[in-house]
């Protein structure tokens, strides 16, 4: 298989959240990124966080139809990780003097890519906080339905409802509460800006 085609298939796999594709991308790239972070004042945990953040950005890109990766996955991830890490270091107030000069070199990544990712992260955190706030069994029920995509019958059985209709009723009540909590925070965040 020619390399371009292979990369294309991997990206498509990533867009579909396919475990095999994710494993291959992970295995091929993680060690390089880890070395980059460890050599530049980072820890193992930092390496994992930065790398996974970069994969999320690649994921968002791979989902949009218009997206054509102009460079290889490897190059893209490396550039994104460099950028993310540099920003994190600056936020922590570390001096750049100990850093590998290559880290500071300009990268091909556009600032807007990182901004989109940041906005998505903010929304993600608001939703997560709202889900945490609604309490059980609402949290587990909504997660089972909307995230793990379980059917109502299965959910009724899992949670011990006597029939799927009762579970569905409960789901709507939970959804209403989640929606209120979500918008309370979401609108506040967007007004601030």
């Amino acid at each position: 298989m020619n390399p371009d085609k292979k990369e294309h298939i991997l990206l498509q796999g990533l867009a579909n959240n396919d475990s095999k594709a994710i494993e291959i991308i992970y295995e091929n790239n993680f060690s390089t990124i880890q070395a980059l972070i460890l050599n530049n004042n980072g820890s193992y945990d930092d390496a994992r966080d930065v790398f996974q953040e970069a994969i999320m950005i690649l994921y968002e890109k791979s989902k949009s139809e218009s997206f054509e990766l102009s460079s290889q996955i490897k190059t893209f991830l490396y550039a994104v990780c460099k950028k993310i890490w540099l920003k994190k270091l600056q936020a922590r107030g570390k001096h750049a003097t100990y850093l590998d000069p290559s880290l500071i070199e300009n990268t091909v990544i556009q600032e807007s890519d990182l901004d989109t990712a940041r906005q998505l992260d903010v929304d993600f955190n608001i939703m997560e906080a709202a889900l945490e706030k609604i309490g059980e069994p609402c949290k587990s029920l909504l997660k089972a339905y909307y995230i793990r995509k379980k059917g109502m019958g299965e959910i009724a059985e899992m949670f011990g409802y006597t029939n799927p209709d009762n579970a569905k009723n409960q789901k709507y009540k939970c959804l209403m509460r989640l929606k209120k909590l979500f918008f309370a925070q979401y609108n506040k965040m967007n007004e601030d800006e």
Binding site: N17, S19, I22, E23, Y26, E27, F30, S31, T32, Q34, A35, L38, Y44, R48, Q52, I55, M56, Y59, L120, D123, F124, M127, E128, S140, Y146, I147, M158, G160, N169, Y172, K173, L175, M176, L178, K179, F182, F183, Y186
Partner: protein, 366 residues
Amino acid sequence: MSEQYLIESFERYFNEEMLPEEKAYFEKMRNENPELDQMTVEHKVFMDKLAEYADRRNLKDNLQSTHKSLLIKGAIAENEHNLSKGKIVQLWHRYKKTMGIAACIAGLTTFIISGSMQVIAPANRSEIQQLSRDVEQLKKTQDIQYSKIKEVTKMPEGAVVKSGGSAFLIDGKGYLVTNAHVLKGSSAIVANSDGQEFKTIIAYVDHAKDLAVLKITDADFKPVRRLPYDLKSGKVDIGAEVFTLGYPRNDITYNKGYLSALSGFDGDTSTVQISLLANPGNSGGPLFNKYGDIVGILSTRETNAQGVTFAIKSNEIFQMLKNWRDTDTSAISNVSVSEKGNLKGVNREDQIKRLEDYVYIVKAYN
């Protein structure tokens, strides 16, 4: 219109589940009623955000489990020894083919040697003993408790018990891990520490690793939301205190000991040696560290020495689950792992009280 009814309508509208007339009516209402129109839009935003969240949550979980499984596989590392991994990986790719051929030859040679050894050497496998309970052993206990068993058992009439052992839940939905050698018959039932029995099916067997997965299919079984232990993937150190719960008798039995060697019988690297008194019936039982997390599964003991027992490392369990996932889409996708250190700092009696509900007795029959 109640709010709940509204939300239901929105969902059906966006999922294209409305009948044409209903849809037309809904759209007309939207048109005439700016408030409804705004609510519809707002709900759409919310549902999109929820879908986005679901997507990212799934990907995040997927990335975490990929990270964990690659660590176990050794493809990535989080310690200093393997820092130069990048280089080694490159070299490995370059010489993969050559090494493959070399490995084939080496493998073949080993095969021939071990083959001829087996012909020449007397079988020394009797030096170790599998810890499943054989028929005689079980018969004895059965004779005593015969009436009791007969009353409650879910075994089909006329079924003959072939062997028994222990098992533990690795997923709240009713998946149990045990040793392959425990499952000598064609089917098995399991019972919890209260003696309540459940029918199971054998979901997956790996004879090479001597591991198997049972799935409880009984309607009486209530799924467990969260297990009180974690399946630990890391290394355990020599001298670490360990304990086990199992069924060498019909009552759950506790034993404790310590890790005495990092390899098992004859230097087997998939197992560890523990100094712990185990008896037939302990096979398939969980090996806990002092915090109550699972670090292995009891499998065999040395016949000639008291207290020399072997446990299969938990990495092998992860590997087996991965192989299972790779071959079977119905396999459990994630081992449900509890919050870390759930039973940390809890005294042993209370740990056991919490853990015993998740360790089962296995009775395999024909």
